[in-house]
Each structure stands twice: as structure tokens, then as C-alpha cells.
């Protein structure tokens, strides 16, 4: 049943002060509307609780992010696109950045606001578990003044909140103390994109001396409100992560959540998945420790996540000489750990065109030639990539003259046949082994060989990314 617009009023006072004055004059009568991504759907279905709306879209007081020393204050009118573009959110609050990326389509991210998401109070909203784990606080405003309260207390029941009839959410405040934490987000839905979650998790953790020192876990779609799993957190805090602890954590999570059957999923499925998501987070947290001990991977990534675009591109280019890959990787920031980095790289690489692949292939020197051929030089070759190539091909450089000559000959044949240089992931392979591989690959048809070359480049990139993480 479509609503008749002639029955509705809308005010657009243009300032925060005028808006809260209007709300105070007739409390509960005026519905604030920002980008309309939720309310216009309810309007179309004739389900709005009132016929008077007040537009708060683009109110300057609500659409800014203030960065203070101890916290950032995100205006309630900031859109998901604003959040995705914000460097501090990207660098220090990756879970919120990821949730913004997951929320709806580009068009909806351009209009949907964080304040709208909070007030709409859907238990399935992707950004709300992130706010819970970052210990967010809300600033609410009315003509009576401002008040500040923990976000965790704001949702009191299904679509019920502590917002008074004359109040607006002004800002969300996030304390800047989580930059060193391991963070993990996962959304389980019918599809990867444009799907409302069946269950989603946002979690943060930090280990010290091998035990869980700090941990925050929140789930969406498992209760009438976005839920912080305080019992589960208590169960794992101070403990070593092992298989026994995973079982205890799953059990604790099962007692805390209150999932239901609905159109998207069943209580039973949600319960099983919630336990698995908690266990997966703890496992990742544990392997992150092992990774961190190997080097300052996390610091390298945290720094890279905050770099300006050009610098970030320049930094990662030696790992793979395709400009499209570099852009894809930079666009996927923030990446919080090695496994996220490698997964992002693989996905980006597989989605490139053969022309982009070729660009990466061209950035390597011919195998057996320590110095790259200048006639093949490209802007994608860097001092670092030349040095890495030399390391990777060391066994070839040190091999016997006869093998080198055979390799040079086979290289020439390969180039005549496929019109590009031979690429192989040389790390850990001896010169005779490489010669053998080269001769086998000369028998491939064009398409098979292209795919094989792309796979070899993928392996080289993976090894280089690991080196790059060492800083």
C-alpha cells in the first residue's frame, strides 16, 4: 500500500538548534529523517508511526568527524561513505570501516548514516557490533542540553532505545585505545554482498604472556539487540587459548545468545554459527600471536593502513608489479593481519585482467639474469623488487655454467613461443629444477601457460608480502 505524500508534512529547519526546538515543541510527533534508507522504505509501505518528518540530512553539525587526543567523535549524520573515507576510522577502528563497506550498496552507503543505523536499532545491523566492541558512547542532544551514555546500554529491547521523544543522537564517541588490538569481523549471510546477516561478529583481542589479556566480542542477529558477549569474554580472559578453552567459549556463547527463527535463518543454525564464529576469532587471535612473534607484521600493517594513497601504493608495489593489483590492495585497507593481507592479495590478483597480469610479469628480470633487461623496464619495477628478484634467483646465479647456458636458451625459446618472459616462483628451487619446469611448461598451450604463470606470480607475491611484513 503506497503512502499518499499529500498526507505528510516535512520540515527542514537547516540547523541542529532549530531541529531540537521543533522536537521539543511536539515531542514524539516529528520523525527525524536523514538519508531515508530505512524510513523511506517504511514510508512506502505505509508503516511510519507519524505523518510529520523533520529532515536532518546534511546538517553540518552532525556531519563531521572530530579527532581528539583520547577519542574520535563521529557525527550521527556521517554516511557509510564518509566512514569508509575517514583515515582515523580506517587506521584505528578497522571493524567499523569493514562494517561500513558491508552495509548495503554504494548508493545506500552514500545516504545511510551511522546515527540512523543506531536509532533504527535493527539487531542485524552490521555496524552495531563494531560500536559495542569499541566501547562506544553516545552523545544525545535536546533543548535540555546534551547527555552522554554508554552505547551498550542504549538498546533496551527489540527496536527499543533510551532515546527520549525530544532527543537526537548527536555523535558516537570511540576511545582511541584499540589500535594495538587484533580485530576480527565476519558476516555470515546468504551471499557475500547485499545480504542482511544471518549472524555477524565483531571482536577485538590482545594477548600478553601467552594469555588473553583483553577481549571484546559482539554478535549481530542473535538476540533482540546487538549483543556484547560479556560472559564469554569473562570465560576466556586470563586464559591460554587451547582446544579446551574453545569449547568453554562456545558453551558460554550459547548460554548468552537468544536467537530466533525468522525469514533469514533458524535459531539452531544461528546458535551453531555463533559458537563457530567465536572459536574462529579465538583461533585467529592465537595465530596472530605466533605471527607477531615472528616480526613486527602488525606494526607494518597498522602503519601502512594509515598512509596516504600514493605512499601506500609505493610501499606495496615491490611485492607485485601490477598497478591494478596495487590499487586493489590499497582500496582494501585496512588489513589487520597477515592472513587478511594474503587473502586480499589472492582475491585482487584473481580478479585482474590478463593485461594487468602481464604488467606484473614484466617487472621481473629474466631468470638467470641478475640485472633486469632495460629494454623491458617498466615503471612497476622498483629498487626493492630488483633486490628481491636477486635473492629469489640466487641458486640460479650460483649454478654451473652449463645449466645457465641451457636456461638462457630455454628462456629465449619460451619468449619466442609465448611473447613474454618465463616466470617461476624460484624460491627454494635449484637451477636444474627450474630448467626442468621451464622445459615442461614449454609444452603448455597458451591459455594453460597464462594461468600457470599467473599462479607462479601469485606465489611470488605471497612470499614477497611476507618479507614486506618484516618491515
Amino acid at each position: 500500500m503506497r503512502s499518499n505524500p499529500s498526507e505528510y508534512e516535512m520540515a527542514a529547519p537547516g540547523s541542529l538548534h532549530a531541529t531540537v526546538s521543533l522536537l521539543a515543541r511536539e515531542p514524539g510527533v516529528w520523525i527525524p529523517i536523514a538519508g531515508g534508507t530505512d524510513l523511506m522504505v517504511q514510508y512506502a509501505a505505509g508503516k511510519l508511526p507519524s505523518r510529520k518528518l523533520v529532515s536532518i540530512w546534511n546538517l553540518p553539525e552532525l556531519r563531521r568527524v572530530e579527532v581528539a587526543a583520547r577519542e574520535i567523535r563521529i557525527g550521527a549524520g556521517c554516511t557509510y561513505t564518509d566512514l569508509r573515507a575517514n583515515q582515523v576510522v580506517g587506521g584505528e577502528f578497522p571493524l567499523l570501516h569493514i562494517a561500513a563497506r558491508w552495509t548495503g550498496s554504494v548508493a545506500n552507503q552514500n545516504r545511510g548514516t551511522i546515527g540512523g543505523n543506531i536509532v533504527n536499532a535493527s539487531p542485524a545491523a552490521d555496524s552495531l557490533p563494531a560500536l559495542l566492541v569499541y566501547d562506544a558512547e553516545l552523545i544525545l542532544v535536546s533543548v535540555r542540553g546534551e547527555r552522554r551514555l554508554p552505547y551498550a546500554s542504549f538498546h533496551t529491547g527489540y527496536k527499543k532505545t533510551l532515546l527520549a521523544a525530544d532527543e537526537l543522537v548527536r555523535a558516537v564517541c570511540l576511545p582511541r585505545r584499540f589500535a594495538g588490538h587484533f580485530s576480527h569481523a565476519r558476516k555470515v549471510g546468504a551471499r557475500n554482498a547485499q545480504a542482511i546477516s544471518k549472524v555477524c561478529i565483531a571482536a577485538l583481542g590482545r594477548l600478553a604472556d601467552g594469555v588473553v589479556d583483553d577481549v571484546c566480542i559482539a554478535l549481530g542477529s542473535v538476540a533482540p539487540v546487538p549483543l556484547r558477549l560479556t560472559e564469554t569474554e569473562r570465560t576466556v580472559r586470563g586464559k591460554v587459548i587451547d582446544s579446551d578453552l574453545l569449547l568453554l567459549a562456545k558453551k558460554a556463547a550459547a548460554t548468552e545468545i537468544r536467537p530466533i527463527d525468522d525469514i533469514r535463518s533458524t535459531a539452531r543454525y544461528r546458535s551453531a554459527v555463533a559458537g563457530n564464529l567465536v572459536a574462529e576469532f579465538l583461533n585467529r587471535l592465537n595465530s596472530e600471536r605466533i605471527g607477531t612473534e615472528r616480526g613486527g607484521a602488525k606494526e607494518v600493517l597498522a602503519k601502512w593502513n594509515c598512509l596516504p594513497l600514493e605512499k601506500a601504493m609505493e610501499s606495496i608495489l615491490p611485492c607485485c608489479g601490477s598497478q591494478a593489483w596495487v590499487r586493489g590492495m590499497v582500496a582494501r585497507r585496512p588489513l589487520s593481519n597477515e592472513s587478511a593481507l594474503l587473502a586480499a592479495s589472492n582475491e585482487t590478483w584473481h580478479n585482474l585482467t590478463p593485461a594487468d597480469w602481464m604488467e606484473a610479469f614484466r617487472s621481473h628480470p629474466r631468470i638467470g639474469e641478475s640485472r633486469p633487461d632495460d629494454s623491458l623496464s617498466t615503471q612497476s619495477r622498483t629498487v626493492q623488487s630488483v633486490e628481491w628478484s636477486a635473492q629469489e634467483q640466487r641458486t640460479v646465479a650460483d649454478s654451473e655454467a652449463a645449466v645457465k647456458i641451457a636456461l638462457a636458451e630455454a628462456n629465449r625459446e619460451y619468449e619466442r613461443r609465448f611473447n613474454r618472459i618465463f616466470i617461476v616462483c624460484a624460491t627454494g628451487k635449484s637451477a636444474p629444477e627450474i630448467l626442468d619446469i621451464l622445459q615442461q611448461r614449454l609444452r603448455n598451450d597458451t591459455e594453460t601457460e597464462l594461468q600457470e604463470t599467473a599462479e607462479q606470480q601469485r606465489q611470488i607475491t605471497e612470499i614477497r608480502l611476507r618479507k614486506w611484513l618484516q618491515g
Binding site: 498526507e7 527542514a12 537547516g14 531515508g36 522504505v41 548495503g104 552514500n110 590499487r327 582475491e347
Partner: protein, 165 residues
Amino acid sequence: MTDSRQSRARAEISFVVNGQARTVHAYPMERLIDVLRQQLELTGTKEGCGEGECGSCSVLIDGVLVNSCLVPVLQVQGSSVVTIEGLAAGEKLHVLQQAFLECGGAQCGICTPGMILAACHLLEGRLEPTTEEIREGLSGNLCRCTGYRQILEAVAEAARRRTAA
């Protein structure tokens, strides 16, 4: 946005549409898509789902991609709106329109205006988008005919031509 009339009457709302200043008399809660199609007779913008899921009503407001079925017209007061009708320069098609035509990116045509505007928004921000970036840029636009492949090719082709030009 300073209009604060609260009576249930039509408001006078002025905005720029495809480069031309226009003033409409509309109820503030009329959806932008209805005003575009009915009052301004710009029927290139299509309605699919009417709830922001399918992207067929996509237009640009101040250069930003939005679903016009979710925008109350009062909120475009003073803004600049671009619809599919605003892309071609007279008889000369926009590079995206030409590429869609040649790559078979349009079949039944309902999603096409939205697809092209979403692609337009994407290409504004990215000089040479990767396939993945194109997929993400068009992720809110559903097509039930093409299987998307030709659409992705059309956008990549348009990006190439623009770079070459």
C-alpha cells in the same frame, strides 16, 4: 535547505536537473523518482523495487550516486541532479552509453539507466578501475537479463576509451 513550511501543502522546490534550473511544486515527501518522471517527464529513470535494493532508479545528486526512490524531494532543494537524460551531449552518446550499446550491456533496458549512472559515479572516482572495483561499484544495481558479464565489459571498455581519448 531553509524551507520550513509545515503545512500539508505543496512546496516550491528549486534544483538543477541535467544542468537546467527547475522549480517544481511538490509535496515535500514526494519521492524524487516520481517528481522526475511525472512532473519533469524524465522517464529514463526507472522504478524497480521501490525500496533501495535494485538500483534501477539511480541518479546523481551533487555528483553522488543515490536511489531516487528513497529521496524525499524536499531534500534536493538547491542541489544538482543528473539523470540518464543528462549524459549524452546532443546526438553524441556518453562514452558509457556507447560502450553499453556495443558490448551488449543493455537487454530489456530497465536496469540500464541505473547501471550507467552507477558506472558514471564509479568512473568519476577511479581512472582505471579493476574488475573488482567495477563489481563493487555496480553491486547495488540488479540486472535480470545479461548475467552481468557484458555490463562489466562495457564499463571496462568505457574506462579504456576514456583513458585513450
